[in-house]
C-alpha cells in the first residue's frame, strides 16, 4: 500500500433543524461575537436571515459581512480580515457557497498569521497556526468547502484562481440543514451537484487517492446518483436535499485528501480567465475529460469501477461478465446522458460558446490550466495540446 494521509477533523452537524444547534456550537468554542459571512444574494433571498434569526433568538451578538462576490478575491479576503480585527470578533460563521466559505478561510488564515496578506501563503502545508473558531454552513450542495483543506480565491490582477492548501484551513464545524438548500433553483442544484460528482470522480482517479478517500468518493457518487434528480425535480424534498448535502460533504472530504485533476485545472482556468461559474465549468468539462482520458488509455478500468455506483441499472444490464473497457465506456456515456438530461429539463448550458467564451481565449485557458495547481495531481502531465483538445470538444 502506498503511504497516504487522511484528515477530516470537522464536526458534522446534519439533518433537519441542524441550524438550531449553532448557538451551542459557538458557545462550546467560546465564541461570543462572531463575524457572520455571506453574500448579497443570500440576504435578498432570506437564507442568511434563517441563520441570523437563530443567533438573535439566542442573544448572540454578531457582525455581518454580506458582500462576498461570486468570484471572491484577495482584496475581499484582506478586507474581511481587517473588519474582523476592527470589530473585535472572536470567531467566524460562514453561510453560503464555496466563495463565501473560501473567503472566510482566507481571512481566518490571515488572522491566524497575525494579519499577513493571504497571498503570501500560497503552497501546501504552510499554515501552522490554528484558525479562529470557524463554523461553515453551506447553502449549496457542491463545493464541499465546509470540510476541505483547500481555499480557492481569485487574483483579479492576474485573472487567475489561486489555490491554498493546508490541514489548518479546514473549518471546525459544518452545519448541513436541508432548509438552507430547499430554495435553490433546479439549474443551480444541477450544476452544484455535478460539481460534487466531479470532486468524487477526480478524487477516485487522482494520484493521491487512498483507500479512505475512495470509500468517501464512492458513497458520495451513490448519494448524488440517487438524490440529484429528485432534488432538481422537487426542491422541497428535504430527504433528497439532506442526502445531497451529505454527498457534497463526503466528496469534499475525499478530494480534500486525494486532490483533483484535469477537470479542475481547466475549470479553474475558465473561472479565472472567462469567469465561468465553477459548478457550470465542472459539469461541462467532466464527460469530455473522461472521454479524453479513456481514448488515451488513462484510468482504464478505473472509471468502470464506479459504474455500479453511478448507474446501477446500466451496470446490471452489462452484467458481471462485461469487460472493463465496456464499463469504462458505459460510465462515460452515463455522464454525457446526465448532462443532456439537465440541459433538456433545466436549460443548463453544455457548450463554452453558449457562455460567451471566445474561441481565441482557448489557448490562454489551456496554458493556464497546464500550470494550475490541480494539474500536478493528474495521472499524466497536461500538455497544451491535450488541454486544447478537451476545450475544443467542450466549445
Amino acid at each position: 500500500m502506498k503511504a497516504f494521509e487522511f484528515a477530516c477533523p470537522t464536526k458534522i452537524i446534519a439533518g433537519a433543524h441542524a441550524l438550531d444547534k449553532l448557538p451551542d456550537e459557538l458557545a462550546d468554542r467560546g465564541v461570543e461575537h462572531p463575524l457572520v459571512m455571506t453574500d448579497a444574494g443570500l440576504v435578498k433571498l432570506g437564507v442568511a436571515a434563517k441563520l441570523t434569526d437563530v443567533l438573535d433568538a439566542a442573544g448572540v451578538a454578531y457582525d455581518l459581512f454580506d458582500q462576498v462576490p461570486p468570484d471572491s478575491s484577495m482584496d475581499v479576503v484582506n478586507e474581511v480580515a481587517r473588519l474582523y480585527a476592527e470589530r473585535g470578533c472572536d470567531g467566524f460563521v460562514a453561510i453560503g457557497g464555496g466563495s463565501v466559505i473560501d473567503t472566510t478561510k482566507g481571512a481566518a488564515a490571515s488572522l491566524a498569521c497575525e494579519g499577513v496578506d493571504f497571498a503570501t501563503l500560497q503552497g501546501s502545508e504552510i499554515l501552522h497556526a490554528d484558525l479562529p473558531p470557524f463554523v461553515a454552513v453551506p447553502t449549496t450542495a457542491g463545493t464541499g468547502s465546509e470540510v476541505t483543506l483547500v481555499a480557492v480565491v481569485a487574483d483579479t490582477h492576474k485573472h487567475a484562481k489561486l489555490s491554498f492548501t493546508s490541514y489548518k484551513l479546514v473549518p471546525h464545524a459544518a452545519i448541513l440543514d436541508p432548509a438552507l438548500t430547499s430554495s435553490l433553483p433546479p439549474k443551480l442544484t444541477a450544476t452544484t451537484g455535478m460539481d460534487a460528482l466531479t470532486h468524487a470522480i477526480e478524487a477516485y482517479t487522482s494520484i493521491q487517492k487512498n483507500p479512505v478517500s475512495d470509500a468517501f468518493a464512492v458513497k458520495a457518487i451513490e448519494l448524488i446518483a440517487q438524490n440529484l434528480p429528485r432534488a432538481c425535480a422537487q426542491g422541497d424534498d428535504a430527504d433528497a436535499r439532506a442526502n445531497l448535502a451529505l454527498a457534497s460533504l463526503l466528496a469534499g472530504a475525499a478530494f480534500s485528501n486525494a486532490m483533483v485533476g484535469v477537470v479542475h485545472a481547466l475549470g479553474h482556468s475558465l473561472g479565472g480567465l472567462c469567469h465561468i461559474p465553477h459548478g457550470q465549468a465542472m459539469m461541462m468539462l467532466l464527460p469530455h475529460c473522461v472521454r479524453f482520458n479513456l481514448y488515451h488509455g488513462v484510468h482504464a478500468g478505473v472509471y468502470g469501477e464506479l459504474l455500479a455506483h453511478l448507474a446501477p441499472n446500466r451496470a446490471a444490464e452489462l452484467g458481471p461478465a462485461a469487460m472493463p473497457a465496456e464499463r469504462d465506456l458505459a460510465f462515460c456515456d452515463e455522464l454525457f446522458a446526465l448532462n443532456e438530461r439537465y440541459h433538456r429539463d433545466y436549460g443548463v448550458p453544455l457548450k463554452l460558446s453558449e457562455l460567451g467564451v471566445e474561441h481565441d481565449q482557448l489557448a490562454a485557458v489551456a496554458k493556464q490550466a497546464r500550470y494550475d495547481g490541480a494539474a500536478l495531481y493528474n495521472e499524466v502531465e497536461i500538455t497544451l495540446e491535450d488541454a486544447l483538445e478537451i476545450l475544443e470538444a467542450t466549445y
Binding site: T120, G123, I207, Q208, V302, Y371, L376, T383
Partner: protein, 174 residues
Amino acid sequence: MSDQTPPRRTAAQRFQALYVRTLLRLLPHLLSLFRHTSPRIRAEVDYLAPGYTFMLSVRGTGLTCVCARTAQGSFKRVPPRAVACDVEPGSGLDSADKGAATVDYVIDFRSLAYAFLCFSGGMTLQDALAQRAFSTRGPNDTGVALTYMFTALLKMFFGWRKAYRPSPSTTATS
C-alpha cells in the same frame, strides 16, 4: 536548560546525506546543461522569469540549495549568506535588504529518506507528491513548472528504474 544531542546517523544515512548534498550542489549545473538537450526542460525554464529563485531543502538535515534563473536561461547557485533572512522564503514579500536574494518558491522534503528516494530514482516526484513527501511554498504556477522540469531531469537519469516505467494500466500521452 538541557542540551540536545544530535541523533546518531547510521552509515547508510550518512551516505544518503552525502549523496543528496552532492546532487543539490550539482543541480544548477545539471539544469543549465540539460536545458540545451531537453526541449521539455527548456520549455519549463522559459516559463520561469529571469531572476526567479527556488529553494530545495531537506528537513532535519540542514541541507539546502538555492538556485536563481539567469537572464540567459541558465541557473546559478545562490550562496546561503546572500539569501534574504528578513522575509520567509516563498512568501513573495520583498526584503528590506535590496541586495539580498528573495526566494520565490520552496520545496521542503519532510525527511532525508524521502529526498534520497527522489534523487536516486527510487520514487518519482509524482509519487512523492502523492505521498506528501514534501511541502511547498510559493505561487502554484511556477511550482508546477518546477515540478515538470525536475521530473524531466530525473527521468533522464532514472528512466530505467522501476518507479519511472509506466504502469500497465496507464499510458502517458505526453
